[in-house]
């Protein structure tokens, strides 16, 4: 166990650790409410226009969704290993895992890109050419586009935060373990949001 890089205004490592965890978890609580708002839209719309909403849901591509779920869960694994490796000072392993996390994150974005391309080519973007007439179908797709774009933005921010861990000089990485914990918490949250999106977007109405 190495020394801890202390930041103002903390006096000891344990206090700083609690501060980081508390701060990030507080932020994650706000994210719960943020996504809670759009999930409320999903629930209300699904209840009010149940048939059409489900008809819309059947048009998502479960392959893309499932592959991305696997990718994101794996990235959570690499992130968990990276964080624990920093804690014990195994710097090369940690860096390798951060690289892996970024690679998996980029993979997710790429798959998402292909999925968007397919959706657009099937005119599933609500608008004049939208192919499903039933009331509520376009509501589902409004949810799909809004929530996946918001999630993708979160993920992109996450990529930046992980990349920042790689910018920390190797000999200082171990001392920055509280930063590593905060980074990991954020990344896992992006994963947790997707875990809930997966059945709502890809398994509904099957």
């Amino acid at each position: 166990m190495t020394d801890t890089a202390l930041q103002k205004p903390w006096a000891d490592a344990e206090r700083q650790r609690v501060a980081t965890q508390f701060g990030v978890w507080m932020f994650l609580a706000t994210e719960t409410l943020f996504f809670g708002g759009i999930f409320l839209f999903y629930t209300v719309s699904r209840i009010e226009n149940s048939a059409g909403f489900m008809a819309g849901a059947r048009h998502t591509d479960v392959w893309f969704g499932s592959i991305n779920t696997v990718v994101l869960l794996t990235s959570s694994l690499t992130m968990a290993i990276a964080e624990r490796a920093v804690r014990i000072g195994a710097v090369p392993l940690a860096r390798a895992m951060y690289f892996a996390t970024i690679a998996l994150g980029l993979c997710f974005v790429t798959v998402k890109g292909f999925e968007y391309w397919k959706d657009v080519s099937e005119h599933l973007l609500p608008g004049r050419d939208f192919p499903i007439a039933q009331t509520g179908a376009s509501e589902f797709w409004a949810f799909y586009w809004t929530v996946t774009v918001v999630h993708a933005i979160h993920l992109t921010i996450g990529l930046g935060i992980v990349a920042r861990m790689l910018l920390i000089p190797r000999d200082q990485l171990a001392a920055r373990w509280t930063t590593a914990e905060g980074t990991a918490l954020y990344w896992h949250l992006v994963d947790v949001v997707w875990v809930f999106l997966y059945p709502l977007l890809y398994l509904a109405g099957r």
């Binding site: 609690v18 965890q21 508390f22 978890w25 507080m26 994650l28 609580a29 706000t30 994210e31 719960t32 409410l33 809670g36 708002g37 409320l40 629930t43 209300v44 209840i47 009010e48 479960v62 499932s66 779920t69 696997v70 869960l73 794996t74 959570s76 694994l77 992130m79 968990a80 290993i81 624990r84 490796a85 014990i88 195994a90 392993l93 914990e181 990991a184 918490l185 896992h188 949250l189 994963d191 947790v192 875990v195 809930f196 997966y198 059945p199 709502l200 398994l203 509904a204 099957r206």
Partner: protein
């Protein structure tokens, strides 16, 4: 890396990951086998199980200090206010 460290850094996360993958397989199977009841509930239930695994073990909420756990739960409780009172309107209109 000592044996204990290897267990902590690699083996434990891998086990959690295996459990997550198993749950993912289960949820897909449940959704696509025709005729099963409570599909939505099952999908969300499994998602909840996955989220709990990630939150408690990957995010180490299990061993976290009291205020951290309160912070984590606060978001859910307040989202509960939003849902319960909105549905007090919606379901009785």
């Amino acid at each position: 890396m000592t044996r204990e460290e290897r267990h902590h850094v690699l083996v434990k996360p891998l086990r959690i990951f295996a459990a997550l993958m198993a749950l993912l397989t289960l949820t897909i199977l449940y959704a696509f086998v025709p005729g099963l009841p409570f599909k939505t509930e099952a999908g969300l239930g499994i998602a909840l199980a996955k989220a709990l695994l990630i939150a408690l073990l990957f995010m180490q909420l299990k061993g976290a200090s009291g205020i951290v756990r309160i912070a984590a739960v606060a978001g859910l409780v307040w989202a509960g206010f939003l849902y319960v009172l909105t549905f007090a309107d919606l379901l009785t209109r």
